[in-house]
Amino acid sequence: MKAFLDAVAWLGAAVLGLVEYLGELGIFAVSGVLAIFRPPYYPRQIGRAFMEIGYFSLPVVALTALFTGMVLALQSYTGFSRFGAEGAIASVVVLSVARELGPVLAGLMVSGRAGAAMAAELGTMRVTDQIDALSTLSTDPMKYLVAPRLLAATIALPLLVVLADILGVMGGYLVATQKLGFSSGGYLTSTFTNLETQDVISGLIKAAVFGFIIALMGCFNGYRSRGGAQGVGSATTSAVVSASILILALDYVLTQVLFVK
């Protein structure tokens, strides 16, 4: 009987803990979004965050997209040739990259790079009293630290995905024309014939949502970190893991909303 009661108590505590966590996250997200629109604004901070999240993520996102497009073309060819459907490779590459792989892979890469950096920076600021110091200097940390990162990530990720889309298609084009013997003109024609504006736009909407999620989880975990170096390390791990899971889960939800009629 005692073991049963202990199990119920553990379950209850876990549920309460989860509800508390979600409540804190919800309040943090709303406060962060409101802070974006309320003065004072910190353009220098927004610019710095934009450089950190967007500009410095360019190489990793570019390489990921390029190789993904190349592998996708190669794999599609191997599979489709069994059914004599090699001609569909260009469509498969461009639609996969624009709708799914561009935003998701860019999101995961930026989460690992910029999301982790945000959590580490804010976590260090928390455990060294820098966030408290901001408050004593008449500065709202939500406006100074969180809002610029939320805004910058929400804008930067779609821009990175535009680049990822171009490079992903280019990767597929290179493999198709240089290795698989497709004609350049035929491949490009097939690519653009089957691509619709909706495909690109929906990918960019996903990217904006993923950017917001990356910054939110990075800032939230960093902001509430405790206990010195170990706490900062845990916050960084939590930021990357939670953002990555949310990106994959939300990708399904957004695909359902944007594509399934």
Partner: protein, 256 residues
């Protein structure tokens, strides 16, 4: 009745099952330097953070200039707290900004001055704490511990606060640098005519920077008196603490 700048009554705060502040009553008179002493983990920093609004107490009142900041409109409470300058234990300088921007941060945040003017003010304030203009462009990570404390002090006084808080100002410094920092604190407080609260374990520092002292023990203020009487107090808790005796009424966890 004397002019009380900060009045604290019945202040309580607990974290989980741990009771940290258990009914603090304390008056700090205008222009007075109050030193709060007490063992590690007795809630000294929580007391300062409660006054600053960084921690929300469970019960009690904190009056600044007669206004209870815990019940006042947020805007009024914020305005009262803007009178406070704080020197943090480890300096808490912003890593991402050069020294001059750290010092002028409060001025820039309140849009009081242009960036060029803020830099000039920062250099002036750095001179007040004995640092040259060449330090202004450095990053906090390039400074020694003593210099970081001085920059932290410069940042705290840059906006000319009427109340100043010092959290363990000499911790981590050698005795000579500790004395230098104390001298700077006394000098700055005197020039600004500020009311100050310092928390410290350092008895020499407590006597140098404090006019009055209070002992925080088991979540309450158990003794108050002149800072100069700290080492001669007959209160058994104060006597044990100030002389660092292993045996006495203060029970440390290791000895239980």
């Amino acid at each position: 009745m004397s002019d009380v700048k900060i009045r604290i009554r019945g202040l309580k705060k607990h974290f989980g099952s741990k009771k940290v502040l258990d009914g603090i009553d304390l008056d700090i008179e205008t222009g007075t330097g109050m030193v709060v002493i007490g063992g590690s983990g007795t809630g000294k920093s929580v007391l300062l953070k409660s006054i600053l609004g960084l921690v929300t107490p469970d019960e009690g009142s904190i009056e600044i200039d007669g206004v209870d900041v815990l019940k006042a409109h947020p805007r009024e409470a914020r305005s009262l707290r803007q009178q406070i300058g704080m020197l943090f234990q480890n300096g808490a300088l912003f890593d991402s900004l050069p020294v001059w921007e750290n010092v002028a941060f409060g001025l820039l945040a309140q849009n009081k001055v242009s960036r060029a003017k803020a830099r000039d003010v920062a250099v002036e304030v750095l001179a007040q704490v004995g640092l040259g203009a060449d330090v202004a462009r450095l990053s906090p990570s390039e400074l020694s511990g003593g210099m970081q404390k001085r920059v932290g002090l410069a940042r705290a006084i840059a906006a000319r606060p009427v109340i100043m808080f010092f959290d363990e100002p000499t911790t981590g410094l050698d005795p000579i640098m500790g004395a230098v920092i104390d001298e700077l604190i006394v000098d700055c407080v005197k020039k600004l005519g500020s009311t100050s609260i310092a928390i410290t374990h350092d008895m020499a520092s407590a006597q140098r920077i404090g006019d009055k002292a209070a002992m925080l023990y088991q979540g309450r203020i158990t003794w108050t008196g002149p800072a100069s009487a700290l080492l001669t107090s007959t209160d058994p808790v104060v006597d044990q603490f100030t002389h660092g005796r292993a045996h006495g009424p203060i029970q440390m966890a290791l000895r239980k």
